[in-house]
């Protein structure tokens, strides 16, 4: 990825309305069951299996949306093949549990993408998968469909913690999933782990981390369990990008929040940081570590504020100035793209906001500081920012080397305190 890291991109401060998107996100909103902490747009149960399964209808709708979105990109930047339309560099199937889709469906979707958006030869094609036997899917089939990177939602290797989290798999299943992916010759494997889980200890966390590393993944994402309330944030309305939180999940979150502990979480983060650094991992983002060359190019596009296209319910896209999203609800999504009366498909409901110049600058700074490449050190001299930077510096949050300023580990842990002062 080094070739893709020109300094001016890393600052992200350049003018917004730029090139055509070179990344595409596809949201697959199905899971076998719902984890109570989950905020993603997810449908479970009958939607995913048996006669009432909506998966096939959904794949049809997705292809339809891809076509409609591609038409817009064509109109704006010229058809595929013109100078302004370089093929996609990254494609990401996220969810939900995209590994629930049959490989043939993934292959069909990749084919539509290839035809309408183009897909570079070296493109990174990620698929999120759950490690459990009933939702892991067929790694070889996915590899044949074009998947080059698998992201496994392992979360923990402790069965007790997995049960607490409402996950269906066991710790032992993660190794099976990694093995299957390796033998399918999937080039890059990520393992997601969660810390600050109710009942977790520093010892159990260390154990999970070590067992994950023993599987020799190429990338790890370590996320603090975050128990939000999208309803309170006003995200779950008719055109919102989130679904309302079920009352059971709401209760679970309230109870679990009481069993979280900032002190313990901090210790876990510090411990993981030290452990991974010792083994030569690059902590390239606040929650993401990679072996050299295995950084997630798709996620880097987000953090560099490059444009990306997106399809599927609740999915977000960015064209350089405007952030656009589809509404979360599946009914409205299907109804627009697969009209039951056979009329012409239309774009699904959704909403958008235009990012003005000062907000864009703030976003660039925040996203830039999340990365180990930081932001240009000149920013520290900007009159509106000097106080905040001086404050952060006095607390040991910053590291200035040469022309860049970046966050220390402690600075990462308090990053919101700094960001709230910078925007």
């Amino acid at each position: 990825m080094t070739e893709r890291e020109p300094a001016e991109l890393a600052t992200g401060l350049e003018a917004a309305s730029g090139p055509a998107p070179r990344s595409l996100y596809v949201h697959v909103p199905f899971c076998v069951s719902l984890c109570p902490y989950c905020d993603f747009v997810v449908y479970t149960g009958r939607s995913t299996r048996g006669p009432r399964s909506r998966i096939d209808a959904f794949v049809g709708a997705l292809s339809q949306e891809l076509e409609l979105r591609a038409d817009i990109v064509d109109a704006r930047f010229g058809a595929l093949g013109s100078v302004a339309r370089r093929p996609l560099d990254t494609l990401y199937f996220g969810g939900g549990t995209p590994s629930l889709l049959p490989p043939a469906s993934i292959a069909a979707l990749v084919q539509v993408v290839r035809e309408r958006f183009g897909l570079a030869t070296e493109a990174e094609v990620t698929l999120e998968a759950n490690p459990g036997p009933d939702d892991r899917g067929d790694a070889t089939g996915f590899a044949d469909a074009g998947v080059t990177r698998l992201s496994l939602g392992a979360q923990s290797f402790q069965d007790e913690e997995l049960r607490t989290l409402g996950r269906r798999h066991r710790g032992a299943h993660v190794a099976d999933a990694v093995l299957a992916a390796r033998s399918a010759r999937i080039a890059s494997i990520n393992i997601d782990l969660l810390y600050d889980v109710p009942g977790q200890t520093l010892a159990s966390w260390t154990d999970s981390l070590e067992r994950a590393l023993a599987l020799a993944p190429d990338h790890v994402s370590l996320y603090a369990l975050t128990l939000d309330d999208p309803d309170a944030e006003g995200l779950t309305g008719e055109l919102g990008d989130h679904l309302p939180t079920r009352s059971g999940a709401r209760r679970w979150r309230a109870a679990s929040r009481r069993r979280q502990d900032d002190e313990r979480a901090t210790a876990m983060y510090h411990h993981a940081t030290a452990l991974l650094a010792g083994e030569g991992w690059r902590a390239y983002e606040i929650s993401n570590w990679a072996r050299r060359g295995h950084e997630s190019r798709h996620n880097l596009a987000y953090w560099w504020r490059q444009p990306y296209e997106a399809v599927g319910p609740g999915a977000h896209a960015f064209d350089g100035t405007r952030r656009r999203w589809n509404a979360a609800r599946l009914e409205g999504y299907l109804a627009a793209l697969q009209p039951p009366d056979g009329s012409k498909p239309i774009l699904p409901p959704g909403s958008s906001e235009t990012v003005d110049a000062s907000t864009a600058a703030a976003e660039s700074m925040i996203l830039g500081l999340r990365l180990d490449t930081g932001v240009p050190a000149e920013l520290m001299a900007e009159p509106a920012l000097t106080d905040a930077f001086a404050w952060a510096k006095s607390l040991g949050f910053l590291l200035v080397d040469g022309s860049r300023v970046r966050l220390t580990t402690r600075g990462r842990l308090f990053s919101n305190e700094l960001f709230a002062r910078l925007i």
Binding site: Y25, S221, Y223, A224, L225, T226, E233, L235, D241, D262, E263, A265, T266, Y269, I286, S287, N299, Y302, W303, Y308, A310, G314, A315, H316, A317, F318, R323, W325, E353, T359, A362, E363, I366, L367, R370, L395, R412, L413, F414, S415, N416, E417, F419, A420, R421, I423
Partner: protein, 603 residues
């Protein structure tokens, strides 16, 4: 022009929410004062705050023209819609002084409540004719028979005089208009005498200067006349005069008995105060009309700009707002913790909240209010006299104090009889002394207590409502000072005394109050980058201590495409939160912390 004998000046009075403003709507409609298209509910409640809270805060005058069905003649009716909340009874009494009559509205489903009694007494004291109206008879829960009996027994209002009405549906409203004409006397005062007009309200207009609202007691006021304000001595040629319909509508003259406005062109707010008398500069009256008794502030608090530079803006805003609400007081003060600000006196807690909100909204200020206090009288040792202390942090040193006296009130509570027990307990826990109990009807009673005002302002009203499922109502009036065994509790945050958090409490309760307060503060003060001790102390003796643990992390775990907007908004909210906080020493304290004392409840 309508002759004086066809003028009627009246207020609408009632307990809160009994339907005054809704009745005013119907009267405006029936007299075609407002175009049907411009009509909204409670159209006179035009302030944003009034519409949001659904209550009337300020009295509003309107001029109606009504053709009586009795004689076919046109009558000029000046209606004043008044607020019902206990904090604004001063506003009611001022309105009543501009009237000869009052429409007393009583909710047929609720019956007589505490402010019904209080407002009737105010009207009787002014010698006004009362037109009783039993409202909301459309409600299924209305009990007109019971309430008619109550009116008869408690207020000696004969049932034949009571008009049954539904302000919502319009029933009975024509009868009310006829009763106004038939029963309320016309104003007196000679239009040929020298001009005397009482200023009962005012507002500031950038073009017309101070606009005063007057009720003329005598004489006639003409366009372009030179006027003089008798107390301030200011003179000016008037720019405009007119009546309220309900917007300002110019007329050529106003004469004795009429109510209207006068744009004075005066730029200084001090030149034209409420209660002053307006007269002719060329032919001045010999004497002013009796003004108003000054509103007595009962609750005091400091108001401080969040950022120090806004102090001059706050001063200006207070001056302008005072013109529109003469019932609060303000004087400059400074606080070690909060910087430069103003000590303000209010009629009650709702009034305090409203003044603060109006300053913030109408003048774009961000304010911090310190904990409210009552005014104490402190007798100094060695015969050095008595000082008034309305700010606990200004209490003299313990060895200079001979005695502290605190204000007491007479409290009336109207409640269903089934809640006598809980209310007795609530009130005696607040050092209240029970006086007597009177049955209004077989199910409802009027209880009277004497109580220290300081105990009442904390959260007595909330407790009263919560213990009676909302059924009880209350009213109070001052009842002088009594000595008490009081001490000052100081609060230290991170080792630094925060004067704005000091409070004066009864000695026996100092320990428990201190404990509850530091506990409340611990929850309200957000974690900082370091540990923050919070202590309560009497003198140098620490009586309670809590610690706000240090912040360990504040980080967004996951930040991907879809989250960028969301997380940015969360950060913006955090930033706003920080901006709403006051930095005291090195600790950021949110506004709510200063009012923690009000939310302590009784556990």
């Amino acid at each position: 022009m309508i002759p004086q004998d066809r003028l009627r000046n009246f207020s609408i009075i009632a307990h809160i929410d009994h339907g005054k403003s809704t009745l005013a709507d119907r009267l405006l409609e029936l007299t075609h004062t407002i175009d049907a298209r411009q009509m909204t509910s409670q159209v006179l409640d035009s302030m944003d705050l009034e519409r949001e809270k659904g209550i009337t805060i300020k009295a509003r005058a309107v001029r109606l023209e009504y053709t009586s069905s009795r004689d076919g003649l046109v009558y000029g009716l000046n209606l004043i819609d008044t607020p019902g909340h206990v904090d604004f009874s001063y506003e009611v009494s001022r309105s009543l002084q501009a009237c000869e009559g009052a429409i007393l509205v009583v909710d047929a489903s609720q019956g007589i409540e505490a402010q019904t009694l209080a407002n009737v007494h105010l009207a009787l004291r002014e010698g006004l004719t009362i037109v009783p109206v039993l409202n909301k008879i459309d409600l299924p829960s209305a009990q007109p028979e019971l309430v008619l009996e109550e009116l008869e027994n408690v207020l000696a209002i004969p049932r034949e005089e009571v008009i049954l009405a539904s302000a919502k549906e319009g029933t009975g409203v024509p009868d009310i208009l006829e009763a106004i004409v038939a029963r309320i006397p016309a104003p007196r005062g000679n239009p040929k005498d020298r001009l005397q007009g009482l200023i009962f309200d005012s507002h500031y207009d950038p073009y017309k200067g101070v606009v005063v609202y007057v009720r003329l007691a005598a004489g006639t006021l003409h366009e372009h006349e030179e006027v003089r304000l008798m107390a301030s001595g200011a003179e000016s040629e008037i720019l405009e005069l007119g009546v309220f319909r309900p917007g300002l509508v110019p007329v050529r003259s106003l004469s004795a008995g009429e109510v209207g406005y006068v744009a004075t062109g005066l730029k200084s707010v001090r030149d034209a105060q409420v209660g002053d008398t307006i007269t002719s500069a060329g032919r001045p009256a010999a004497e002013p009309v009796p003004g108003y008794q000054e509103a007595k502030s009962l609750v005091f608090a400091g108001l401080y700009p969040l950022s120090g530079e806004d102090y001059p803006l706050l001063r200006d805003a207070l001056e302008k707002l005072h013109l529109n609400d003469a019932s609060f007081t303000y004087k400059a003060e400074s606080s070690v913790a909060l910087g430069f600000g103003f000590r303000c006196g209010f009629l009650g807690l709702l009034h305090m909240e409203i003044v603060q909100e109006r300053l913030e909204r109408e003048f774009g200020l961000d304010l911090i209010a310190s904990a409210p206090s009552v005014e104490y009288q402190v007798v100094l040792t060695h015969g050095r006299g008595t000082v008034a202390v309305d700010n606990p942090s200004r209490l003299p040193a313990a060895n200079d104090i001979e005695e502290i006296q605190e204000p007491w009130v007479k409290l009336s509570v109207v409640t269903p009889a089934s809640y006598i027990g809980p209310l007795m307990e609530l009130s005696t826990n607040r050092r209240g002394a029970f006086q007597d109990l009177e049955y209004l009807d077989p199910q409802r009673v009027l209880m009277r207590f004497h109580m220290p005002l300081a105990e009442l302002i904390v959260d007595y009203y909330d407790q009263l409502k919560s213990r009676t499922a909302g059924y009880a109502s209350m009213d109070y009036e001052e009842a002088g000072y009594r000595p008490a065994n009081l001490v000052k509790v100081d609060i230290m945050v991170n080792g630094e005394p925060v004067d704005a958090l000091s409070l004066i409490v009864h000695r026996e309760r100092a320990q428990s109050t201190g404990r509850v307060l530091v506990e409340a503060l611990r929850k309200l003060i957000p974690r900082q980058m370091f540990e923050v001790p919070i202590q309560a102390a009497i003198g140098s003796n620490v009586i309670a201590r809590e610690t706000v643990r240090a912040l360990r992390k504040n980080v967004l775990a996951k930040c991907y495409g879809g989250d960028i907007t969301r997380k940015r908004k969360l950060l913006e909210k955090q930033k706003e939160g920080k901006q709403r906080m006051k930095r005291v020493g090195s600790v950021e304290i949110p506004q709510e912390a200063f009012l923690a004392i009000l939310r302590m409840g009784e556990g």
